[in-house]
Symmetry: C2
Subunit: 452 residues, 2 copies
């Protein structure tokens, strides 16, 4: 017998409480839910996934250092002590902002009193959707696994190549976009080639892999202060990565990248291309903008009011990557974890304040703790409260901060023991190629030298 | 520049050495390769996967305790110090035993002097291939992940069910087959329902899940001594699992299992059915039997000579699950890790002895250290050198032996810290549902109570 924990009558009573519906369990949505723990509201958190993903470490899944489970926390587990909160699996598809109702893709619908939309962003190929096929990006667990397979297959097929030219193509890697993600991927890839796989092959020499980081602008880490961009470039070059600046990719397929530098067009042959470009709003984000007639910025983010609500809809908060919020000086806020966390927290506090009858909640103010990007072992850059660090100090800081954050929600001390272990030994525990085992991510395998 | 490590001329010289080709990097194949480390042979190990899987812990991946990377070791990493060994990714498709040549699915071919076939077994649905769709089995990493998704989705959709009857179907689980795998799955599933998910839902009570272990024979763990079967049944029942003996599944689909008990046919409604039935030879195993005209047993295993070679082909060893080997008394050896490990080692030693001119290598003798099956925390049964243990002592023994084994090849101490942690807290770190996030493993999601 499956007894419902709550009787239907009791359930109806509870439904009288102020209903907060949160869409998305990322940094913004999860933090909003957490901050509503003891509020007199009924919270429903809906996500397509049953887990919260610690996205800043996703590149470590892509490069085989960590398993997806190690950077994820089941949403139910995180919120199991929140008795006023229920977590449901589903994907929002439609909204009627006047009737205050959200409909899921499977047809179920949810009425709300206050809605928090935190559905985030997805990768943008700047109108070249066909590039997605050849150049995966690093946004979801599945994409991270796909990148891992692509990288590992490349070395496998290089080993089985019939000619040196073919092997060279398999050992050429291009990462398009030199933001934080691009640098992380390039650095980790260099460490895989130079250290992890160093002694694992018989016919090829992994340390001779060519890793190219391509950037359209004139410096890496464009969002950082110029001196840190310079340092980051030095650090990544030290690992053997080639940095190409001021080049625009014009075509990407399974054989490489065609790019323009000034007036000349060239092709870089590489069997592995990874995309670390921009992001755009999710499908539901676009629907929300249409239904509420909200303005969006160039990348589809919804332009919100100073209190993170949509104009004319004070009961719809937009937080995280989907929101185009501004600092006091009008500077747009970046799509990073800190902005999402603080936005989610702000929405929760505003809801609490309004329920107490306080109508004049002060506008959202982003408290900028700084930024950091990691390139490799003992190699990072950090801008913390205006102080610039690089190299080992920045890396230790990065390690410490990520450690503190990830530990807090699941006692995942284990990740850090493991990390420490891997950083010492250069081993990578999660070097699995799963799937059909048939080279599906890479097309047909290269034939071996010995012909039949 | 990608310089080949070996010049072609050097490569040809080395090819003069005795060439040992090993197909499969499981317990049998990997151990054969390991034992040939300093032998005057050129070893090529070919596997469809780039990793060795520690299969006895696969059920922990299925039940969300461990990530696939934690029970796997990259074959290249394990064999990187074996300078006479190369590892290649590929799948054997054809063999010409007289020309001594193996051809891969991608067309590449390999000549050998001695061949070691260790391609293992795959799940058998006893002629009902259509059951595979609804009832995944526990043989590969992908299947383990599929089982994990199926289990976690079941609880999610139970929470979103419109009626109590529907929720009850989602909370009913059937495991077909009460061998070691079936018991492990049933026990772990009971612990998930009773402990891990206990406080995570609002509308359903996970501890009221119904878990049924179905067995055609008249006792669980049929391969064990009868007293341990009895103890195992007591232990698994103590966790709340229903044991149904003497019932034959006659139909399996997404709504449940139809079974026969004596002359009556009944149906057990359950949205989650897992298959823990028998195994059969791999496709390449069948090809090998045809080409060498070798006899096979009922489940397609090749009947080998006392030295594990195929009759008339003394240069083809068959080891591991694919071999139907016999003990001195004629009793067939079971398809377990220990038989595979010892078989692989024996093949390697025989090759070494033959190269030294020793033609009279003694036949393979299996040294039976015993068997153990784990049911849950502090619950296992073990038969070690004829001594029978159960409960906590058996479980500690199981833990210790698996610990020793897995640690040896990758310093994976971490798994055991993690394990200890999870056994204390009942938490499960790898409770992720990945994939399209759309209920793909489970059909359409159940609509929620509130209709639109």
């Amino acid at each position: 017998m499956v007894a419902r924990k709550r009787e239907d009558s009791e359930w109806r009573t509870m439904a009288q409480a102020h209903r907060v519906l949160i869409l998305g369990g990322g940094f913004a949505g999860l933090n909003a839910a957490k901050k509503l723990k003891r509020a007199p509201v009924e919270v429903t958190l809906i996500d397509r996934r049953n887990f919260h993903l610690f996205q800043p470490l996703l590149y470590q899944v892509a490069t085989g250092s960590l398993s997806p489970g190690e950077i994820s926390a089941p949403l139910r587990g995180v919120l199991s002590k929140h008795k006023n909160t229920e977590v449901l699996l589903g994907e929002a598809a439609e909204i009627d902002p006047d009737a205050k109702r959200v409909t899921l893709r499977d047809g179920a619908c949810f009425d709300y009193d206050t809605l928090i939309v935190a559905t985030g962003s997805k990768t943008s190929y700047y109108g070249n959707e066909e590039w997605r096929q050849s150049a995966p990006s690093l946004k979801t667990v599945e994409e991270a696994t796909a990148i891992r397979h692509k990288i590992l297959y490349a070395f496998e097929w290089a080993e089985r190549s019939a000619t040196e030219a073919e092997a060279r193509e398999w050992l050429s890697f291009v990462i398009v976009g030199a933001g934080a993600t691009g640098l992380e991927l390039a650095g980790a890839l260099a460490e895989i080639a130079n250290e992890t796989l160093r002694h694992d092959f018989r016919r090829i020499n992994p340390t001779e892999a060519r890793i190219v980081l391509m950037e359209g602008g004139n410096r890496v880490l464009a969002a950082y202060p110029p001196d840190l961009s310079e340092k980051a470039e030095i650090l990544v070059k030290r690992l053997g990565v080639e940095v190409m600046k001021g080049v625009m990719a014009t075509a990407i397929d399974n054989t490489g990248v065609t790019y323009k530098r000034g007036d000349t067009t060239e092709k870089l042959k590489a069997r592995t291309v990874l995309w670390a470009g921009g992001v755009t709003a999710t499908t539901f984000g676009r629907t929300l903008a249409e239904r509420t007639k909200a303005e969006t910025d160039r990348s589809g983010r919804i332009i919100v009011r100073p209190d993170l609500t949509i104009p004319n809809y004070p009961d719809i908060f937009v937080v995280g990557d989907l929101a185009a919020a501004k600092e006091k000086d009008g500077k747009p806020l970046p799509g990073v974890a800190q902005v999402a966390i603080q936005g989610g927290t702000y929405a929760a506090h505003t809801i609490r304040a309004r329920l107490k009858g306080n109508k004049d909640v002060p506008p959202f103010r982003y408290f900028d703790k700084g930024d950091m990007a990691v390139i490799g072992r003992a190699a990072a850059v950090a801008n913390v409260f205006g102080l610039h660090f690089w190299g080992l100090p920045a890396w230790l800081l990065w390690l410490f901060i990520h450690l503190m954050y990830i530990v807090q929600f699941q006692s995942r001390v284990i990740v850090f023991i493991q990390w420490g272990f891997q950083y010492m030994t250069f081993s990578r525990g999660a070097r699995l190629i799963t799937g059909t085992g048939d080279g599906d991510a890479q097309g047909p395998p290269a034939p071996r030298a010995a012909k039949c």
